[in-house]
């Protein structure tokens, strides 16, 4: 089974190399260091949000509320940054994110509600709260210390990129070398078998969703730090690219296959494509179309590769 996993990654790596070559030939300015760093920075923002979602998806779940959870926690963080210390603000945001994730987890794991519906409803609920809290205002101008997260570079590398690799590494180790990680894969691969093997499924699911909410809030730190502002709607355009990064990265939506490495690659590939579209002066309105099409294509390709069919 892990051969298949690596096969997916290899294919993605190949696709990425092909894209880089083609874009480099079409537009030489693509091959500048500056541009690469831009691409990496874009992908890191996407990955940070998609990281938690990857864990959830691996356990055969889904969390459609990640974008809005990021928005809600970021709004609260932003508001607190104006009056409290940075530590308090960040902590509050993370707690809010984790709480949202926990709510999802409890509804899904303990009440047995379908994940899709619950997180879909939760998405609108959190968005409502964010809009209610912000009252259509924008909070901007954060302390310099906070701006470290999104707007500074360490040794030429943007901080979010560094965190992308650190978080990616931690999650990789967690998913592959801890019990929790193994259980996540088990639940995703075969729910019934996991149940019979004594895997504490409900605990795993709750932990996965809470982690997802937590990481969504964590990603929010970098988002608002980068744009130095926050408003209620920042989460709206985020779900599609995140899901795209995950599916492009080869993680199966049925769970059990894939991993964070794939999501990193998926995020990078997506950023490359968007970057390429910009360099080729393609109308930015095409972005949504392209991302949507890519999601469909990558899932399609995966189904060819693994011959996974939806049984009636």
């Amino acid at each position: 089974m892990w051969v298949r996993q690596y096969m997916a990654l290899v294919m993605r790596l190949g696709a990425m190399i092909v894209i880089v070559i083609l874009l480099g030939l079409a537009r030489p300015e693509f091959l500048t260091m500056n541009n690469f760093i831009n691409v990496l920075r874009q992908s890191s923002l996407i990955f940070l949000l998609a990281s938690g979602l990857t864990v959830v998806v691996l356990s055969e779940g889904i969390d459609l509320s990640v974008g809005q959870v990021l928005a809600l926690s970021a709004c609260i963080m932003g508001w607190l940054l104006k009056s409290e210390s940075m530590a308090v603000a960040i902590l509050a945001g993370l707690v809010i994110g984790a709480a949202c994730g926990l709510a999802n987890g409890v509804l899904i794991a303990y009440l047995g509600l379908p994940a899709f519906v619950v997180t879909y409803g939760m998405m609108w609920i959190t968005q409502g709260f964010a809009l209610l809290f912000m009252k259509a205002e924008i909070i901007y101008g954060f302390p310099k210390a906070f701006r470290f997260f999104g707007a500074t570079n360490l040794m030429g590398i943007p901080v979010p990129v560094i965190f992308m690799f650190i978080l990616g590494g931690i999650l990789y180790l967690m998913l592959n070398y801890t019990n929790f990680g193994r259980y996540v894969y088990n639940v995703g691969a075969n729910y019934e078998a996991a149940r019979f093997s004594g895997v504490p499924i409900r605990k795993i699911q709750i932990m996965a969703y809470t982690l997802c909410g937590f990481l969504a809030a964590f990603a929010g730190i970098f988002y608002i730090s980068r744009i130095n502002a926050v408003e209620a709607g920042i989460g709206d355009p985020l779900l599609l690219p995140c899901l795209a990064a995950i599916t492009i990265g080869g993680t199966s939506l049925y769970g059990g296959e894939g991993g964070v490495g794939g999501t990193i690659l998926g995020a990078i590939i997506m950023s490359l494509i968007i970057n390429g579209m910009n360099l080729l002066s393609i109308d930015s309105y095409w972005h949504q179309f392209v991302i949507g099409a890519i999601v469909i294509i990558s899932v399609w390709v995966d189904q060819f590769r693994t011959a996974k069919f939806q049984v009636a």
Binding site: V117, Y120, M122, I125, Q127, F129, Q288, V295, A312
Partner: protein, 313 residues
Amino acid sequence: MERDKLRKVFKRIPAAAFALVFLLITCSFISKHFWTGENLSNLGLQGTVLVILALAQTMVILVEGIDLSSGPLVSFVGVVIAVLLHKNFSLPMVILCAVFLGTLCGSVNGVLIARLKMPPFVATFGNMGVFTGLALVITQGSSIPGFGEAFRYIASGYVWGFPFMVLILIFIILFTYVLLYHTTFGTYVFGIGGNQEAVHLIGVNDIFFKSAVYGVAGSYAGVAALIMTSRMNAAHPLVGFGLEFEAIASVIVGGCSWTLANGNPWGTLVGAATIVVLKNGLNVLGVPPPVQVAGVGAFLILAVIYDTIKKKY
């Protein structure tokens, strides 16, 4: 024996029926304007588009699917309608094109899901982006305003004292009923939802019918687009955003169990009515629109909880 009979009847009533009655009573107390002709007519207008999309969604959910793209599809078809109207296409032609385009796009969903066996969520989610993107590209982000009297009649005209829109709505409801309960197509829809493999083994082309369901759902979106664009007298590429949520919520609130594919259009109607009344009530209370949507979300979750509990007992 008596208790079992009572139980059976009780199980058939969707949760939404109780909620609807409760909400209607509550709303009557909250505002003395609730039962005025003006407010009821408002409710009717809000409900029309929702019910049409919800009926489409019912059929899709009946075949174990979901359609996240119907909102953006309404935007997209609306934008195309606007373009065609400004190019002076005749009204019947525009109507035909709208329905046809809706069916076409719906069929794309259908092919991806039924033939290529993609998870419905992913396929329609991807298409959500595709349709939104197309609408944005055509309009370059802005809206297309100003249509003629004839087109606006669809949403604002009155026939024998009834808004024309409501007549269209009633027609669609009846059409759905006949389609689902009195045609072979309808039988297959329920069959595929219940046991797709069995339908296949009978020799029916289950893949074709499954995609056809999405196509029909798309045509409903086309009709909804006509009404929406006519009512607003403009087409905006993002107008449909979020419409599918309330449609899905209507279906689930209306008792169509998410996993058992045991829904029926009447439940959906009750569900849609509940949601419209809920939103209207919240509106009267001065709750801002996005929070109203959050309220619908919370209500949806409650409905699913009720559904789950009901299944266990």
